[in-house]
């Protein structure tokens, strides 16, 4: 394959950080709760990629096992979050985060 001047390591790190940043941006800015959750998944993927890169770089299986844990946890979290959102949407009639103001101090 044609190899570019950039090192494999640097590129992968760049991609994972980009993924994380985009996820964070989406999570904080999107008004709809579901989209925020999706961006959350993006952030997690960014982290996973980061881990895998270094696991390969240091050739130790730890990174990969941690990757697996994150996947598991992400799955559980997504399930719970989504069902909560379903109830919230039933309750508040919409998924928009701004409507949930009941906890005002």
């Amino acid at each position: 394959m044609i190899s570019l001047p950039v090192g494999e390591l640097e590129f992968h790190v760049f991609v994972s950080i980009a993924l994380f940043a985009i996820g964070a941006y989406g999570f904080l800015c999107k008004r709809s709760g579901l989209i925020a959750l999706m961006c959350l998944e993006l952030m997690l993927n960014g982290v996973n990629l980061f881990l895998m890169t270094f696991s390969k770089h240091h050739s130790s299986p730890d990174g990969a096992s941690l990757f697996l844990f994150i996947v598991l946890v992400a799955a559980a979290e997504a399930a719970i979050a989504l069902s909560i959102f379903v109830i919230l949407s039933r309750r508040f009639g919409s998924v928009v985060l701004d409507d949930y103001r009941r906890l005002k101090g």
Binding site: L28, D98, Y100, R101, L103, K104, G105
Partner: protein, 640 residues
Amino acid sequence: MIFEGLRWILLAPLLGAVLNGVILQNKSAKISGLVATLASLVAFGFSVVACSQLSGLNSAPEQNFLIDPLFTWMSSGHVYVPFNLELTSITSVMLLVITGIGSLIHIYSISYLSEEESPWRFFSYLNLFLAAMLVLVLASNLAVVFLGWEGVGLCSYLLIGYWYKKPENTAAGMKAFITNRVGDIGFLIALFVAFSFFQTGDISRLAERVNDYAFLSSGVPTWAWYTFAGSLLWAATAKSAQIPLYIWLPDAMAGPTPVSALIHAATMVTSGIFLICRVWPLFAMSPVIVDAAFWIGMSTAWLAALIAVSQTDVKKVLAYSTVSQLGFMFVALGAGSPAAAFFHVITHACFKALLFLAAGSVIHGMHHKQEMSLMGGLKDKMKITHVCFLIGTLAIIGFPLTAGFFSKDMILAKVFAAQGVFGYILLLGAALLTAAYMFRAYTLCFWGGARSEYAQKAHESDPLMYMPLVVLAFLSLFIGWLELPEVFGHFTKITDWVHSSWYGVGVGEQAHLSHLAEWLLMLITSVLSLTVAYYSFKIYQRNPEFKILPEPLHKWSTNKFYVDEAFELLLIKPSMKAGRFINRISDETTFNGLANGSFRFTRLSGRLLALFHTGSVQTYAWHFVFWSSLIVGAIFLWTL
């Protein structure tokens, strides 16, 4: 020599007071008066026995006193105060005076208070006063003397405020108690100096301190001697009503007359001088203080005499005359002879009590009217009172061979010996003023036409009242014989009694006067005072409103030289205002403010924090991400 009887002298009036005050409380003056008089007579009996016991004792000067150890009142560290009673020669005389005149006054007041509604209160306070005075006299330790000292102050407060319905009586009582308390601070300072520097409170051991050389050289700082003597003088000025702190005595006339007779003439006011006589060797160690006493006495004698001249209320005249006579006694102390002062204490007790009781019977006859302008022409309506009042007046102005003559003449002689002609002339002036105002009072009361219907209807009081008058008249005539000047033969009872009570501590002899000088002095004083008395008698018969003093001085003297107002303005009002101001600043604004402020602050900060809970999920998320990344970044940079 141990003698158990002393405690009974003290317990009798105490029991009387408790019996009357707490248990009996019955309304009739007769019964409660009887109980009280009985108690004081028992005390008188026991004191006579004790004095005879003492005079029988003729051991060495150091041992000739009776002791009756009761219990230790308090002892901790360097303060050891045994509650012992002690009878020395000087205290025995004072004891007889107090219990004797006290019993007479008890008898007198039975009829004086016949129509009061709660006489038991009066008699229980009178007995309590007697007990406190006896403690003051019999105590062997200065701290126990202080117990009597304040007890006497308390009883005078209670008795002055006896008719408590009228607010000015209770105000006078409070004024008396607080002015006495100012003096008590001086007494306390003297006690502290005694206990910390002289290591003892016992009067006998204090006197011994003066001549045991080891103690003197053991480095007692000179300021200790001066503070001791100075604060004792301060205490005496308050109790014996001298210049700065005499303001309470004239107002104390608000109390019933027997009270004024007993407390504010005979016993309490002289306790200051009596105390100084007892610790005289210590007092004489600081000559500056002795001179101070001289000048305080002189100025009080003059000021009081000037005020007495223009007073219209008979009791006020007698009150100011007491203050002026006390000034005489201070002058005697200042001239370095406690014997003369003590002799004048005794004679003054007799004739001043006589004058007060006579005035009391006049007032009683005049249905409690004290204004001399309403009196006049009482000599034929109240014959016995008139005669007794006359004897009293003669005694006080120093009519030859009466008590006043001997004691005042002795003071004048001592002053002449110690201070020279100038001091003598000053004192003579005061004596002449006394003659003037005493005869003014006498003629206004008894001579001339009756100036009001009360005077017309005045009647002689019943035997219970004039019998003590007669006894006191007899006393004030013949008590002078106890101490004759050298000219009339060597009969100096009082001086040896006073000197022997200092437990053998000798004090330097005063200068001696030649016989001629003594004759001359006696002649001048008696002649001058008699002429002044005769003139004032003549003038006041014709014109009751005659003013002895020139106009500006007269107006000033009627208003008592504005001393009360000055005290109020300069001392009492500013300190009260300053106190209120300081307290408002320190308590209300700063500390309370601080405390309340801290409550409000916590509530405020609580409300402030609530603002963070906006409720929008996203701000929470934002904060969460922002702060966590900040922290991670910080840790990351930190670990580099």
